[in-house]
């Protein structure tokens, strides 16, 4: 069943008549229940704008976002988010436990049930027993796992992740990718993950939405037909994986701006033309 429908979504910052920036233009796609959708696109291409619209963090210039058929106008309780910069989205003044518990105060009235939920989410991300720590006492990868724990403790129907693994090293990154897949299986939420890493998108997703450069439009929605459970070595070794990867890469390359010409090259060109 379709969970989220994005229809003709557009967002322009500022007044278009006075040089406002058109970030996204007529974006349409949908997310089915429990589906893993990755959004890839060139950097600076309005991916984050799209997510901010979905979380209703700012208004949109046009189009509709429907969650279970209702228009999304304020942050919906069915959506939880994990942001790229864990150090800025976790609260350093609260322990890991309180960070996770705070949003639950509005959804779970019973104190015991709430703390059970917190402990469950910590175990789920492999941080059981570390609830009393402060986020800044943990490594980057662990902090991002706290952010994931906070999101799943909220029991979202859609988990939105904005470049969630871009700030950690490659080893940690692979671990977090697999953790996300496993957690998704346990929680059953749909995941909408934005990344600029094509390998990551193909590895994780059921479908990959490829965006063009600014203003972002949907270039293609690629169905990823790879067996689950996915495995960092086996899945990435499949010929099909390489085909998907190449296909998405070609799309992205086609839309990316050509490399800017360097000053030295310009100087050479100027001399050659005699001025």
């Amino acid at each position: 069943m379709t969970k989220l429908v994005v229809n003709q979504l557009a967002k322009t910052y500022g007044d278009p008549a006075k040089g406002g920036v058109e970030a996204i233009r007529e974006i349409s796609f949908d997310v089915r229940e429990g589906e893993f959708v990755c959004i890839v696109g060139p950097s600076g291409g309005g991916k984050t704008t799209l997510l901010r619209c979905l979380c209703a963090l700012h208004g949109r210039s046009g189009g509709r976002i429907e969650l279970d058929g209702r228009d999304v106008t304020q942050p919906p309780p069915e959506i939880a988010a994990v942001f790229q910069d864990y150090s800025r989205s976790l609260m350093p003044w609260y322990s890991v436990r309180r960070n996770i518990e705070l949003p639950l105060k509005n959804t779970i009235a019973d104190k015991k049930e709430r703390s059970e939920r917190v402990e469950w989410s910590l175990r789920e991300v492999g941080l059981g027993g570390l609830g009393d720590r402060y986020p800044w006492q943990l490594s980057g990868g662990m902090q991002q796992r706290v952010a994931i724990a906070r999101a799943i403790a909220y029991r979202p129907e859609i988990l939105i992740m904005d470049e969630p693994f871009a700030s950690v090293d490659a080893q940690t990154r692979a671990g977090l990718e697999d953790l996300t897949l496993a957690v998704r299986d346990d929680v059953g939420a749909a995941v909408l993950l934005v990344t600029h890493d094509i390998d990551e998108a193909v590895y994780l997703a059921d479908r990959v939405v490829v965006l063009s450069s600014r203003p972002a439009t949907v270039m293609e929605i690629v169905d990823i037909d790879l067996p689950r459970p996915r495995d960092q070595i086996k899945t990435k070794g499949l010929p099909r994986f390489a085909e998907y990867r190449t296909h998405v890469l070609e799309l992205i390359r086609a839309t990316s701006q050509p490399e800017p010409v360097s000053e030295a090259q310009q100087a050479v060109a100027a001399t050659l033309h005699g001025n």
Binding site: P75, I79, R88, W93, K105, N106, E124, G141
Partner: protein, 294 residues
């Protein structure tokens, strides 16, 4: 399927092995050698103590040798005068007066600074409204208003309190503006996405974000409040340490003058230490106070 523990192999569990112990065992000695830790503590206390004792000894020596003007008594004489005063009830009354002026000034000026500064920081319109008058008033020292206030209110405690409040107002006001401006939009948005209500965002996110700025503000405001209170007493004849100092100086009781001077200095030192101590506890999560187990 729910509730099973999961181990992630690729991500190291802890930043470093030693951090677990150091985090629990305490701030002072994270190194393996306990003697080095003890040395660090004692040096932290010994060095400032050494300079203080050295300076006092120098004062004593120079005064005894006659190198200082006759109006400056040796340190030991000042101390023995002070020791006599400690038995005297009027000394404690004076001290109490000054402390009251300091405290009321800090409270009133600080609260006003937080309210006005917070509003300026949050509402750009209010900033535009008040920016010019505030920048005009800011460099005027609080004590300048003393003659006018004495005319209107008389040489009473209220006068000292009003002036001390003015002294405390500015640092709190500007720290509040900076603090509110420095609130990270990302963490506020995270709160919004997770359905926190406005009141919760204010209390759980905005207030803790501003707190480090306010703590600095309180420390600056506290010393300014004390300075202005003592000056107002000294110049305006308002009961307190300041008046007593002025009276002693005018009557040639220099031991008393320096004794009271010493008391106001030690007062400032103790108040600052107390504020720093509570700041350290309240803001132990903040970068400047973190016990980093590196």
């Amino acid at each position: 399927m729910v509730g099973r523990a999961r181990k992630v192999k690729t991500d190291s569990m802890l930043p470093s092995e030693s951090s677990q112990k150091a985090g629990a065992a305490g701030a002072i000695a994270s190194s393996a050698d306990p003697r080095r830790g003890r040395w660090r503590v004692s040096s932290r206390l010994l060095i400032p103590l050494g300079t203080t004792v050295g300076l006092l000894a120098l004062w004593e020596l120079l005064a005894r040798a006659g190198a200082l003007p006759a109006e400056v008594p040796p340190f030991t004489e000042v101390v023995s005068w002070l020791a006599g005063e400690f038995d005297d009830g009027t000394f404690w009354d004076m001290l109490g007066q000054t402390l009251w002026h300091w405290f009321a000034g800090l409270l009133i000026g600080g609260a006003a600074g937080i309210v006005v500064g917070g509003t300026i920081g949050m509402v750009p319109f209010v900033h535009r409204l008040l920016n010019v008058p505030l920048e005009f008033l800011r460099p005027i020292p609080a004590i300048v208003y003393l003659p006018l206030l004495i005319l209107v209110m008389g040489s009473r405690s209220v006068t000292a309190i009003i002036l001390a409040s003015l002294g405390a107002l500015w640092p709190m006001l500007f720290q509040s503006v900076y603090g509110v401006r420095a609130i990270d939009a990302q963490v506020v948005e995270t709160g919004k996405v997770f359905g926190l209500r406005r009141r919760q965002i204010l209390w759980h996110i905005m207030l803790p974000s501003v707190l480090p700025y306010l703590a600095t503000g309180v420390r600056i405001a506290s010393s300014l409040s004390l300075i202005v209170a003592v000056s107002a007493e000294l110049v305006g004849g308002i009961p307190g340490l300041g008046t007593e100092m002025a009276a002693a100086a005018q009557n040639g009781r220099y031991t008393a003058t320096y004794g009271l001077l010493l008391v106001s200095g030690v007062l400032g030192l103790l108040l600052n230490a107390a504020l720093e101590g509570s700041e350290k506890r309240l803001l132990r999560w903040h970068v400047s106070h973190r016990v980093v187990n590196a």
